[in-house]
Assembly symmetry: D2
Homo-oligomer: 299 residues x 4
C-alpha cells in the first residue's frame, strides 16, 4: 500500500455555508469566517459537510463555495470537500469537480435513501468505484444519526486496503467500533472522530484527529484537548472533554445548524440564516443557547 | 376551500426509470413500458418517485424523463411527478419545472436528512411554502422506511386546509394513522395507500386509491382489488389482497428496485439495470423472484 | 391437525387489574367490573395481559386474580390468561397454574429481554415447548411496542401446525404481516387484532376478532364494529373505526394504563391507581382525557 | 451528602448463573467459579445481572444464588446484587432480600416493559422510592440494548443527590453521556463502564471502574487495562483495549450468554447450558468462538 501523503492529524471544523438574508450563498462571509479561523492552528476544514447544509445546495452553488473557500484556505491547511451523493456516478462527478476546485480530499457520506439495500457489498462497491475514479484521496464518512446507515468494520477494513481511501470520519460514537476500526486497518488509514462529544475517547483509541462542529465556535478548546492528550495530561484533557459536552450538544443535536450559526453570530463570526425547511431558533432557544455559551465561558 | 378538481381515485404505478447498459436514461424504453401500461385502466402514473431512483438522477435527467413520460401518458391519465428535495427552494424549483413538463400534480417526499429537525412546524412551513409557490396541486408523501420521518396527523390536517394541497401518499402502513388522516381532513383531501401491502386496508378506511409498486408488474390485479372493494365483494378482495403479499414483498422490501426491474424483464417489459450503489440481483435472487412470480401465477 | 374447539371470534377486552389505595390487588373491584362487562355480548376476556400490569404482580397475586376472575366470568365466555414469562420453564409453570385456575387458553407474549437472541429458531423452540407442556390451548402474542421482538410469519406458520397452538394476538399493526399470517396458516389458526386502531383492517384481512383495550371502555362500539363488518356495512364500519382512533389512542399510547383506568373511573367502573413506576395522570392529562371521551360521546 | 463508604473502583465481572444438565441452578459450580475468580484482584462481582440470566430465575432461586455467592465471595470483595424488577414494590422487596443475603449493594436495571412511559419523572420516582426503602446502597443500571430505556443525564444528576444512590452502571456506550454524567454528579457518585467495549474510554472520562462480561473470561486483561490507565501508559492501554474488542464481542452481542458460558467451558471454568428460550451454540458457532479465543491468545 502506498497511500497519498496527507496527514489528517489535528482538528478540522466542518464549516457552515453562510447565506444572506435572501437565502443566497454569502461567499464574502464564508471567506471572512475562514480568515478568522485561519488564525488558529487548525489542520484544515471540511467544506460542504453535514454542517454545511450541502444537501440544500445546487451543484453550481457547491462549486462556488469550494472555489471561494480554497482561495481563503492557505495551502498548508487542508480543504476536505464533502462530495458524497446518493449515486456512485454523481459522487464521482462531484469529487472530480471538487478536485478541480482545489480540494485536497473528498469526504464521502454513505448513500442512504435506500438504506436497507446499503449492504456491506453495496457500500464496498460504491466506495471502490468512487476511489478508483477520484483524482484526489477520499475519506469514508459514516453518520448514522442522519443516514441510518453504518459501515461495518469488516467493510472498512476491506476499503482501507484501497490505495486512494485514506481514512474515515466516524460520527457514530460507538467506541468499540472505532477501536476495532483502528485495530483492523493499517497505520496509513486514518480515523477521525466525527464529534466533540467523543473526541478524547476517539484519540485514546487511536483516532488521529477530529472533524468537530465545536471547532467552529471554540477552535482553541479543541486544539487544547488534542495537545493535552498528546502530552499525556489525561486529567486535564478529561476535564476539558467534559466541559465540551453541553456546548457541543447545543450546537449539534439540541439546536442543530441553526444553533451553530446563532452561536457563531454571538461570537462575532457571520452566522446568518439556515435554509428552509430548517427553522431559525426561537427567542427562547436563542436565550438558552446564550446561557450555555455564557456558562461555558465563551461569552 | 376550493381545491383543484383532480381525482386521485384508482391505481397509480410509481414507474421505474429505465437505464441502458451504460447506465444512461433509456427514454425509449420508458415510453414503451408506458404504452403497455396504458392498455390498463390505471388512473395515472407516479414518475420519479422512490421506485424511479429519483435521487440518482440529475435535474436535467429528471426533466427529460418527465417530458418523455408526458408524451406517452394520454391526457386522461394523470402524471404525478416526484419533486420533493431536501430544501424548500429546490422543491419549489423542481415542482415548477415538473409543471412545465406537463405534470398534473407533484408528489413531495418529506425532507429527511436532518430528520430530528423535521418537526411538525418545520414540515408545515415547508409544505405550505411549496404549495404557495407551485403552479400545480401537490401531494404530501410520507415514506418512513426510507426517510425515517413521518408527518403527524395534526400537521396533515393543518396542511389539508391549504387549497393547493390535495392529498397524501402514505407509505407508513400505520392504519390507525391512515384512518385518523381521513377523519381529520375533509372530503376533498385524498388519501392514497402507498403500498400494495395494505391497499385493501387503506381503501376500507377511506383511501381513494393507491400508488403501488405492484401495479407495475400486476396492474390488473391491483385494479381488480379496487373494483372488488367498491362492489362490496370483501371476501374476494381479501383473498386477492393476501395473494398480493409475497409478490409485493418480492419487488419491494425483499429485492428492492433491482427486483422490480428484474420482475418487469421476466414479464416482458423493459427492466434494465439499477444504478450503483444499488446492486443487481444475484442469480440466486433471480431464481427466488422467478419462483414467487410463478407461484403467484404471473409467469 | 385437530385443534381444540375454541372459537376466538368476537371481542375480548384485556382487563386491567384493579388495585386499592394501598396498591394491593382489589379482587372485589375486579369482580364488579367483570359483572358489568358480562352484560355485553363479549366473547370473553384476557386477564393478566399487558393492560393487566401482569409484570407488576407476583405469581401469588396472579393466581388470586385468575381464580377470582374465573368466578366472575360465566362458562360461556372465555377466560384467556396472560402467562408468558421470560423463560420457557416459567411460562410452562404459569400456564399450568392458569389452567388449574380455570383459564380456557393462555396468551403467551414473546420473551424479549435478550431481544437480539429471540431468533425465529429460539421463538419456535420456546412456543413448541410450552405448547407441548400446556394443558390448555395457547395463543402466540406479539406486541413489538413493548417487547421490541416480533415473530416472523414463517415461524407463525410453523407454529400454527402445532395442535395446541390455536391462534395469535398480533398487536404489531403491520397489515401486510397480518394478511400473510392468514394466508400462511390454516382455517383453524385464528388471528386476533391486538388493537382497536386496526380492528376493521384486521377483520377485513381475515382476523376473527380482537383483543382491544378499547373494549374495556366502549364494549358496545367494538361489538358494533364487528357486527357491521360481518353484515357488509363497510361504510358504517369505517366511520365507526375512524371514531375509535382518538378514544383508543387516549387509553393506550397517549395516556397508557393510567389513562385506561382513569377512563374507567369516569365511566363508572372501578379504575383505581396504577402501580409504580407507572404514574397517575396529572390534572391536565385527566382533563384532556375527559375531553376525548366527551367528544367521543362516551360521557 | 454523606454517601455510604463503598468504593466501586476496579473491575467487577457480572457472573453467569450456572445450570446443570437438567437446567437446575448448579450452586456448587457457581462457588467453584467464584473461588477461581477470587484469585484475581477483582474488586467484587455482580450477581444476578443481565449475564446472570436473572429474568429466568424464580425469586427462590435468586435468593439461593445470592446466599451461596456470598459464602464464596470474601468480605473484602463486594457482592453487588442485581435486584431490579418491573415494579417499584417488587424491586424494594428483592433489594431487601438481597441485603439479607449479604449483598453490599443492589444494581437496579430500569423498568422497561412500558418503555414509552418510563419518563424521567417515572424513573426518578421509582429510584428514589427504592433507594428510600433499601437497607443497602443502590446503583442505577441502564442497558438500552436490552431495555430500550435510558436514563437522561439530568435525571441521573437528580438521583445522584440521594444519599443512598451511589453510582450507575452505564452500558449504553454513549461517551458524551458518560462524560456528562461525571460532569453533573459529585465525586461521591461513581460511574461504572458497563462493557469492555468502551472500558478505556469510560475510564478516560472519569469512570472509576467497570462491570465487564469480559472479566469472566479474561479477568487479568481487564485488571491490566485498569492498571495501565492509572499509570498513564495510554498507548499500551489502547492496544489492550483494541485487543479486547473481538473477544468481548464474541461473548456478548455476537454469541450472547451461550457464548459466554461456552467460553468459560473452553477456559476450564464451569459454563453449562443456558435456559430456554436462549439456545446453545451450534457447532459452527462453537468453532468460531474457539477461533476468537485462540486468536486472542486465551487458549
Amino acid at each position: 500500500m502506498n497511500k497519498p501523503v496527507i496527514s489528517l492529524s489535528g482538528v478540522f471544523p466542518p464549516v457552515p455555508t453562510p447565506f444572506d438574508a435572501e437565502g443566497e450563498v454569502a461567499i464574502r462571509k464564508l471567506i471572512e469566517n475562514l480568515e478568522r479561523w485561519n488564525q488558529y492552528d487548525l489542520s484544515g476544514y471540511v467544506v460542504l459537510g453535514s454542517n454545511g447544509e450541502a444537501g440544500f445546495l445546487s451543484v453550481e452553488e457547491k462549486l462556488r463555495v469550494l472555489e471561494a473557500a480554497r482561495q481563503a484556505i492557505p495551502p498548508d491547511k487542508l480543504m476536505i470537500a464533502g462530495a458524497g451523493c446518493e449515486s456512485t456516478r454523481q459522487t464521482i462527478a462531484l469529487t472530480r469537480q471538487a478536485a478541480q476546485a482545489g480540494a485536497d480530499a473528498a469526504l464521502l457520506v454513505t448513500p442512504h435513501y435506500y438504506d436497507a439495500k446499503m449492504t456491506p457489498g453495496a457500500l464496498a462497491h460504491h466506495y471502490e468505484a468512487v476511489a478508483d475514479g477520484a483524482p484526489i484521496p477520499v475519506l469514508l464518512y459514516t453518520v448514522p444519526k442522519f443516514t441510518h446507515v453504518d459501515i461495518d468494520t469488516a467493510t472498512v477494513a476491506r476499503l482501507a486496503r484501497h490505495p486512494n481511501i485514506i481514512g474515515i470520519k466516524d460520527t457514530g460514537g460507538n467506541m468499540a467500533k472505532m477501536a476495532d476500526t483502528v485495530r483492523l486497518t493499517g497505520p496509513d488509514f486514518q480515523v477521525l472522530a466525527g464529534s466533540a462529544g467523543f473526541f478524547l475517547a476517539g484519540l485514546t483509541l487511536g483516532a488521529v484527529g477530529g472533524t468537530l462542529a465545536l471547532a467552529n465556535v471554540a477552535p482553541q478548546k479543541c486544539l487544547d484537548l488534542h495537545r493535552l492528550f498528546k502530552a499525556g495530561q489525561m486529567e486535564e484533557a478529561a476535564a476539558l472533554q467534559r466541559w465540551m459536552i453541553p456546548v457541543n450538544a447545543a450546537i449539534t443535536a439540541r439546536f442543530g445548524i441553526a444553533g451553530l450559526k446563532a452561536a457563531l453570530e454571538m461570537l462575532g463570526y457571520y452566522g446568518g440564516p439556515v435554509r428552509s425547511p430548517l427553522l431559525a431558533l426561537t427567542g427562547e432557544e436563542q436565550r438558552a443557547l446564550w446561557e450555555v455559551l455564557t456558562e461555558g465561558g465563551l461569552l
